[in-house]
């Protein structure tokens, strides 16, 4: 028995080795591994050529003085042709042996009185005027050279020319155009990475909390609150949009009255916001306030929010006009003015979604509290009836929204299929769920949000930014902006994962202690979670910047701007020496970044 076991083991092993062999054999075939190509002399020559070019990056150059010497020649020989004029021995001249020849024949070219120690091409110039290079000549210390070349197969009745072009460096070396261009692009690349990392981090930090299971697990909400929340969210979004729009038009009117008034308005609204929030948000509250007081405070906070909108729009308008003014006045530093105006425009752009989201989630929060109060006051059967009714409506709304999204993407144009049926199914599911659950049951809202965030970021992370940039290049045009957007999106997705894992691995003790003091969820995050995650967050952000610098060097391949675009162009045009400059620049930047990020990471911890 034992022997058979050993034999069986060996057999399994043997089959395993055979299987591995087959797998690798197939792998060799599909990846077209070809050792003949590697050894082929012609291929090796090519490799040496490109390696030599890569080790001679085109960084500096000299101004050149060019010497051109022509010698006429008949190809093929013409019997009636006049003899070529005798060369002038006082200047540089070439002697051709033989003086005329058939196309494709070999001739010997000898040069005299050339500038000493220069190199240059020896060209054949047919009547069309193009240059066909036949070889490279090299003059000796006496300005003499001999070279044997093969004539191209161009025959003509007219005289054609053999042309020697030699060049001499003049003056001091200076940076080549290619080097200057590379410098500009590498700067663009570094800032592309910086902006992508900044935007990515700004979005990833708040979102990463939604992807941390230890925080989200505890977030539950009564059924009634969830149903109400689903129903009021679109209302809140609509109200937010309306508020942003009307406040913006008010801000435009105010801006028309002059900049002095804008500043005054900014100061007044700032003071009012401060004063009202002081009243509406008392630092300490021993006894819970009555209903009237709470309503008054909510109303006051809405006023603060509207004032805030006004202040932001005014600030944006002021920044835009001041930036535009500075742009024309600051000459070299005009980009600072442009930046200011850009910031203003960005602020104006961001106020709208922020207003929409704040109002949507604010109203959702309020309805959640309302639902909580309702189930505390109502009897269980009443709550259940309410649950079923609202659950059905909310389910219908939710599924109809999903249906509408599908309709928008696939354009079926059949409302019964994309709206009617989903709404009916949603209503049935919502009602059924409410009927099945106990009246006061809580739904694991946090788990749902956690899973949604995780799934979305996983999908986004699976798509490389090199692919994403194609979509963005279609949207905003080829260039660094598309690269910033693509890298930022990918950064958001990856940082959410890295950050949230850090949040999940914090020490649970302090969290428990802060919770035990009666802190709200927000306070627990601020006082127990954030102090613990700052060092890993900084370290991961640096790491990501590092990755983004490397990514930004190649994102140009797909239209994302930066040095990659230049590199790809030069590789395609076979300008390997130019490409080598860009590779060198990339290597220097990546090495510097690596050093910088590790130094900064050490400081953060």
């Amino acid at each position: 028995m034992k022997n058979f076991g050993a034999l069986g083991k060996s057999l399994t092993m043997g089959v395993g080795v055979l299987l591995a062999l087959v797998i690798y054999a197939y792998g060799f075939q599909v990846t077209q591994i070809n050792l003949d190509e590697v050894q082929d002399e012609h291929r090796q020559q090519q490799l040496f050529r490109i390696l030599r070019a890569l080790f001679q990056p085109d960084i500096y150059e000299y101004d050149k003085e060019e010497f051109v010497v022509n010698a006429p020649m008949y190809v093929p020989c013409q019997s009636a042709a006049p003899a070529p004029p005798a060369p002038d021995p006082s200047g540089p001249y070439m002697a051709l042996t033989p003086a005329c020849a058939e196309p494709g024949a070999e001739i010997t070219v000898e040069g005299f009185n050339f500038e000493p120690n220069l190199t240059g091409p020896l060209n054949f110039i047919p009547p069309s005027g193009v240059s066909l290079q036949m070889g490279n000549l090299e003059t000796d210390a006496a300005g003499h050279f001999v070279i044997t070349v093969k004539l191209p197969k161009r025959d003509s009745d007219e005289a054609q020319y053999i042309r020697a072009v030699t060049r001499r460096n003049v003056g001091q070396p200076h940076f080549s155009n290619n080097a200057i261009e590379t410098w500009k692009k590498i700067i663009e690349t570094v800032f592309l990475a910086l902006l992508a990392t900044t935007f990515g981090t700004l979005f990833a930090i708040p979102l990463s909390f939604l992807a941390a299971r230890n925080l989200m697990r505890e977030v539950t909400s009564p059924f009634l609150s969830v149903a109400l929340g689903i129903l009021v969210f679109p209302v809140g979004v609509g109200l937010g949009a309306l508020a942003a729009q009307s406040v913006n038009s008010v801000a435009q009117v105010l801006a028309g009255w002059g900049s002095g008034l804008s500043f005054a308005g900014l100061a007044v609204s700032g003071f009012l916001m401060w004063a009202i929030s002081r009243w509406a948000l008392p630092p300490v509250e021993i006894n819970p306030p009555g209903l009237a007081m709470r309503v008054a405070r909510q109303a006051a906070l809405v006023v603060v929010a509207l004032l805030g909108l006004l202040a932001f729009y005014t600030l944006a308008n002021t920044a835009i006009s001041a930036g535009t003014y500075l742009e024309s006045r600051l000459s070299i530093f005009g980009f600072l003015g442009t930046f200011m105006a850009d910031l203003g425009e960005m602020l104006a752009l961001f106020v709208w979604p922020v207003s929409v989201l704040v109002s949507g989630f604010g109203l959702m929060n309020l309805s959640g509290q309302l639902g909580q109060r309702a189930i505390e006051r109502l009897s269980a059967p009443t709550t259940k009836i309410l649950n079923v009714l609202l659950g059905a409506v909310a389910g219908a709304a939710l599924f109809a929204a999903i249906g509408a999204t599908i309709e928008w993407i696939y354009q079926f144009d059949t409302p019964t299929l994309t709206l009617g049926w989903p709404a009916a199914i949603g209503a049935a599911l919502g009602g059924l769920l409410a009927a099945r659950l106990p009246a006061r049951a809580s739904l694991p809202v946090g788990e749902v949000v956690y899973n949604l965030t995780r799934t979305t970021t996983n999908v986004l992370r699976a798509i490389e930014s090199l692919v994403m940039v194609i979509v963005f290049a279609v949207w905003v045009g080829i260039g660094p902006f598309a690269g910033v957007l693509a890298l930022a999106l990918h950064t958001i997705a990856s940082l959410i994962k890295l950050y949230s894992e850090q949040i999940e691995s914090i020490m649970a003790g302090p969290l428990e202690a802060i919770k035990a003091t009666g802190a709200t969820r927000l306070q627990t995050i601020i006082y127990a979670v954030i102090p613990q995650i700052i060092p890993p967050f900084i370290s991961y952000t640096m790491y990501r910047w590092d990755i983004n610098v490397r990514m930004s060097t190649i994102i140009g391949f797909a239209g994302g701007g930066g040095i990659g675009f230049l590199l790809q162009q030069n590789v395609n045009l076979l300008n390997y020496r130019d490409a080598a400059t860009q590779m060198l620049a990339i290597a220097i930047v990546v090495i510097l970044m690596d050093y910088l990020s590790s130094a900064m990471r050490e400081r953060a911890i």
């Binding site: 428990e512 202690a513 802190a519």
Partner: protein, 250 residues
């Protein structure tokens, strides 16, 4: 002041950490909770402020049903119950003062916390509490720069900031040097005697129980096996609490 009725906790269905525990605690009593590791001491203490949700049963504190409280009510209940932990549970990277101030979070408006602000009275109070536990000059240091005993004193100062009616102490001296145990226990005793704060404290060493407790609650396998005076724990009761193989030390 505190009534506990039929408190039961099941972590997994069928596996009970607490089984039908009921007892009352009058105001100002120093209650020691004893039992082996895993007997349910920590679970009992955490069920009282619902850091752990009890499966069934009721906890009533000063007439407020803790087990039925909603989020806002629970916040008001929790802020009157200070808690001290075996591993101190300070936020290491925050300053000692911030750790103490965190005891006021139950009273502070969350909007103020968003800006990391506490009312000036609270800051003054926090310094006073640090003086009280003898760490006045350490306020600006990082919490993890302190020794274990000092960290536990910061933990006590944090609990005191809550202006508590009751303090739950979960093995407050178990991860300290035995010689430091009395210094920490004396702070708890002082708070109990001088401020009239009820203390529920789980302990391992019986000599500490004899020295500080007015009353002993003993758990074994999640069940209440003894409720009485420390001096009433004779050898037979001792075996009932700690099992047949246990022997008294000290």
């Amino acid at each position: 002041m505190l009534q506990i009725q039929h408190l039961t906790k099941e972590y997994v269905r069928g596996a009970r950490a607490l089984t039908d525990v009921s007892f009352d605690v009058p105001k100002g009593q120093f209650v020691a909770v004893i039992g082996l590791s895993g007997s349910g001491k920590s679970t009992l203490l955490r069920c009282l402020n619902r850091l752990i949700e009890p499966t069934s049963g009721q906890v009533v504190l000063d007439g407020v049903d803790v087990t039925a409280a909603n989020e806002a009510e629970l916040r008001r209940v929790r802020r009157r119950i200070g808690m001290v932990f075996q591993h101190f549970n300070l936020v290491h990277r925050s300053s000692v003062l911030t750790n103490v101030l965190a005891g006021r979070l139950g009273y502070t408006n969350p909007a103020w916390s968003l800006l990391n602000r506490f009312p000036p009275e609270d800051v003054a109070q926090a310094r006073k509490q640090l003086e009280r536990v003898g760490l006045g000059e350490k306020a600006g240091q990082r919490a993890d720069a302190l020794s274990g005993g000092q960290q536990q004193r910061v933990g006590i100062a944090r609990a005191l900031m809550q202006d508590p009616d009751m303090i739950l102490a979960d093995e407050p001296v178990a991860s300290l040097d035995p010689v430091l145990a009395h210094s920490i226990m004396q702070y708890l005793e002082q708070i109990n005697k001088d401020d009239g704060v009820t203390v529920l404290c789980s302990l391992h060493f019986l000599d500490l129980v004899h020295r500080y407790a007015d009353r002993v609650i003993a758990l074994n396998g999640g069940q209440l096996v003894f409720d009485g005076l420390p001096k009433d724990i004779d050898d037979q009761r001792f075996k009932a609490i700690y099992g047949k193989d246990a022997e008294r030390v000290g």
